[in-house]
Amino acid sequence: MANSQRMIKNLYRDSVSLMQFSEKLRALDGIQQASAVMATENNISLLVEAGLLATIVPPSPNDLLIVVEGQDDSSVGGALDQAEAMLKQKSAETGEGGVRRVPPRSIEMGLDSMPAANFALISTPGEYAAAEARKAIQLGLNVMIFSDSVSMEEEIPLKQYAREHDLLVMGPDCGTAIINGIPLGFANVVRRGDIGVVAASGTGLQQVTSLIDRFGGGITQAIGTGGHDLKSEVGGITMLQGIAALTADPSTKVILLVSKPPSPDVMKNVLEMAHQSGKPVVVDFIGADPASITSDSVTGVRTLEDAAKASVNLSLGKASGHFTGSLPDQYINVAKECVAKLNAEQKYIRGLFSGGTFCYETLLLLSETLGIIYSNTPIKKEHKLEDVWKSRGHTAIDLGDDLFTQGRPHPMIDFRLRNERILQEAEDPNTAVILLDVVLGYGSNMDPAGELIPAIQQAQKIAAQAGRTVIFVGSVCGTDGDPQSLSRQEALLRDVGVILTESNAQAARLAAAIVNGR
């Protein structure tokens, strides 16, 4: 027979609930007698009379005294532990009919209702995003900041803190990521596999992951860094952390990096780390010379499509592949057929993009063979459109630029602006090809083809009435797993005569071949 007692400081229960509680204790295995009381003078003397109290204690009426008698020390000790735990447990917050609940308002409150949370996705107005991110990392959460307009002065300390605490801060202005198979922000539903992606560009990440899916591969993680990460000031903190994490990740076989060319010091560190990963790494520093990147373990590529293809090849254990940049055979005839439909005045490509990286990649590819391409976001600033609302020569417009999104949803969601511009380009007798991107996935419009088709048909009518044919060329970025379904969207657009290629790069090259073939 063993007997033990425990005082729990500053805990009050009324006598009725303590009597019920004592009953519960007596029902525990190996327990003969148990009593829980407030440690008043009276209660203590009752316990003494009952012979239950081994050690007399001074009265302390705000404390709760538990005494237990049982077979052996271990059952008695166990019962006391269990009793204390039961008393300190907060009652389940259920069963109070009609009591309104406060939905969580702060990250801390969110953690109260989701204690195992490990991630915060922040898409507040930009002015508040840094503070929310700061709270999240201080609470031990990894963070994705979708919000833009967060300054580099705010970004740097966040990323430094996160690095010191082995947390990831993706963004600010990180539009997309896929973590553990879950699409975050604007993201596609991509098959899981063994390719890990780190990308500084949102649409770049969507393009490579969608193409990996299209080419039969799959991804482990797709980490976004935000557009400032590879600048000297930030030093590529997130990209370097991403490479390190993918290096350590046993599921990741191939690492794929996507960014505009980083500043030279950051580039050096990134390539150094890529090299040291011991895994095959594919790098698309969009606009940089692949030769300056390529080494024995690093494959430099020129386009997002090549990046996806090389990664899938490596994932299948093959060589990364050789990318010539020439137009695939099947499109050479298509181009010829298109050329035959154009009149002598139709000379120019008009690219209308919703994805910034699609526009940028197109500018790079078109300028290789067509010379000057005008844009609101040109490669060379002398090629900036004076009036962004009016095209001249070959033009490629990023409609996701702040200029166009003031007071209006993003063009991946709201197609009105692009549709108006399609009609405007169709009116122009010099327009040969209207080049489009279509982005599927969560966050985007639920039926982009349905939004575009009336405008395309109207544009075709306008051109026909003027005795012309306008060629529509485009690509759809997405997967069959996306809520919009890639194959359905492609079929709808093909039905109205849009020529679709697998990738943005191919669409640009096809468009270039058409105007060059005239």
Partner: protein, 465 residues
């Protein structure tokens, strides 16, 4: 940790666009979407000051210490003495008042009336007009009760001759004080100062005070927390409703008083007086809370709120790590029910030190245990529970010593964290009486109000790290 994330289920707290939470859930992930609004009433700079304090180790450590000192306090009623003897450093010609500091010419009606009454009671002036002149002359020092470890309901005026309850926290030795409750109707704390008021004050000084002291000495002190704990199980929240606690106190005092040398006729009048006032315990509830909170005050870096008090013009709070600073905002109006013949246009803004009870986790915070109280705002018992539940989100924990039957005997939400108030925008709820804006009319209603968020915004910005 980054790699650990890859091995775990992704569980996302979503702040901003709710559609992002939907898509996470549709693809098999877990997401909790916040009902987010810009913290700190949208002030970006304060929002960043707050962010730097969230889960900051220095603050967390300090709060653990402050909260533990607050919760483990054991306030004992030690006796009753005149303020001039009981309260250290209280010089003659000093009058204490409720709330944060305020000058004579800015005081609200009830406080003005109470100050004049106190001057007359002390005999410092012979009539209203000369009392007024004396108050304006600068010869009287006005100071918050809180600066002297004291608390007083409504105008909270304490003068040197008044008897005060003396409460000592056995755990840390700190001492707090409160005046004795005068009852309802024409009373000094609402600014009344006619001869009947002064006569009652005199009786309290010469009869009630000594009798109470004798009874308390007879009992060897009275444990206050256990009275509050029991009263919370009897429908009190010990701010706006003290019926049960006053009865429990009466039960203790009566036999003790009969064993003292106090003359029989005085015992009768004293017991009649106490029995006729359901709020008799309020001042003890307040002083008990004050003793508990003072124990948690003065911990460097701590964001524990240790006082909320109003002077009828401003609402002020104090924070453990911010020393003797007050963080103030205009006093809010009270949303409530008015006694027959009065309306909201008669009301003074929120007044009194009694919000010390909410600061300590009872009063409005324990409304769930006092369903009768919500009738003042036309609410239901469910509303009362909801008020209490909401307060858990802005407190550091709960007080296992003050349990609430309708909430399955969970401890009352206790220990306001200024950070959480600013982050959530949830303002502490306060049950309170409503004073007439003019001196001396008295209580005209009761209801519910909320502490202004501005006070907490200022506290968070006060560079406590």
């Amino acid at each position: 940790m980054v790699n650990k994330l890859f091995e775990q289920d992704l569980q996302v707290i979503n702040i901003g666009l709710s559609s992002f939470a939907d898509s996470i859930q549709q693809t098999g992930g877990k997401a909790t979407h916040l009902d987010w609004r810009p913290p700190a009433s949208g002030d970006r700079e304060i929002g960043m000051s707050l962010a730097l304090l969230v889960n900051a180790p220095e603050v967390e450590d300090a709060n653990r210490i402050a909260h533990e000192r607050f919760l483990s306090a054991q306030p004992i009623l030690m006796g009753v003495e005149q303020a001039r003897k009981a309260i250290p450093n209280l010089s003659e010609r000093t009058l204490l008042h409720a709330g944060p500091p305020i000058e004579w010419d800015r005081m609200c009606g009830p406080t003005l009336g109470a100050i004049i009454g106190a001057i007359l009671y002390e005999g410092w002036a012979g009539d209203q007009e000369s009392a007024r002149q004396l108050a304006a002359s600068g010869e009287i020092t006005f100071a918050p009760c809180h600066h002297f470890g004291a608390v007083g309901p409504m105008s909270g005026v304490i003068s040197p001759s008044m008897p005060v309850w003396i409460i000592k926290n056995q755990e840390r030795g700190n001492v707090s004080f409160s005046n004795l409750n005068e009852g309802l109707g024409k009373v000094l704390r609402f600014g009344a100062n006619d001869p009947s008021v002064l006569e009652r004050l005199k009786w309290m000084e010469t009869v009630l005070g000594p009798a109470m002291n004798a009874a308390v000495q007879q009992l060897g002190g009275i444990e206050l927390r256990s009275i509050i704990a029991q009263a919370l199980h009897m429908g009190d929240e010990c701010h706006n409703r003290n019926a049960a606690a006053s009865s429990l106190l009466f039960k203790k005092l009566t036999p003790a008083l009969l064993r003292t040398e106090v003359p029989q006729k005085d015992i009768a009048s004293v017991l009649e007086f106490i029995a006729g006032n359901d709020h008799f315990f309020l001042n003890l509830s307040m002083a008990c809370c004050k003793a508990m909170l003072d124990a948690g005050h003065g911990v460097e870096h701590s964001t524990l709120v240790t006082a909320m008090a109003r002077n009828g013009v401003e609402f002020g709070i104090r924070m453990s790590g911010a020393g003797n600073q007050w963080f103030t905002a205009p006093a809010p109006m009270v949303d409530g029910l008015f006694f027959p013949g009065y309306t909201s246009t008669d009301a003074a803004p929120d007044l009194g030190d009694s919000a010390i009870t909410e600061t300590a986790g009872i009063g409005g915070f324990a409304m769930g245990a006092a369903p009768a109280i919500v009738q003042f705002v036309g609410g239901t018992p469910q509303d009362a529970i909801a008020y209490t539940r909401e307060m858990y989100h802005i407190t550091m924990g709960s007080n296992g010593g003050f349990t609430l039957p309708p909430l399955n005997f969970d401890g009352a939400p206790a220990g306001i964290d200024a950070r959480k108030v600013v982050d959530t925008g949830i303002a502490p709820v306060i049950n309170t009486g409503i004073a007439h804006k003019d001196a001396g009319v008295g209580q005209v209603g009761a209801g519910i109000t909320h502490a202004p968020l501005e006070c907490f915004n200022k506290a968070v910005q006060s560079k406590i790290l």
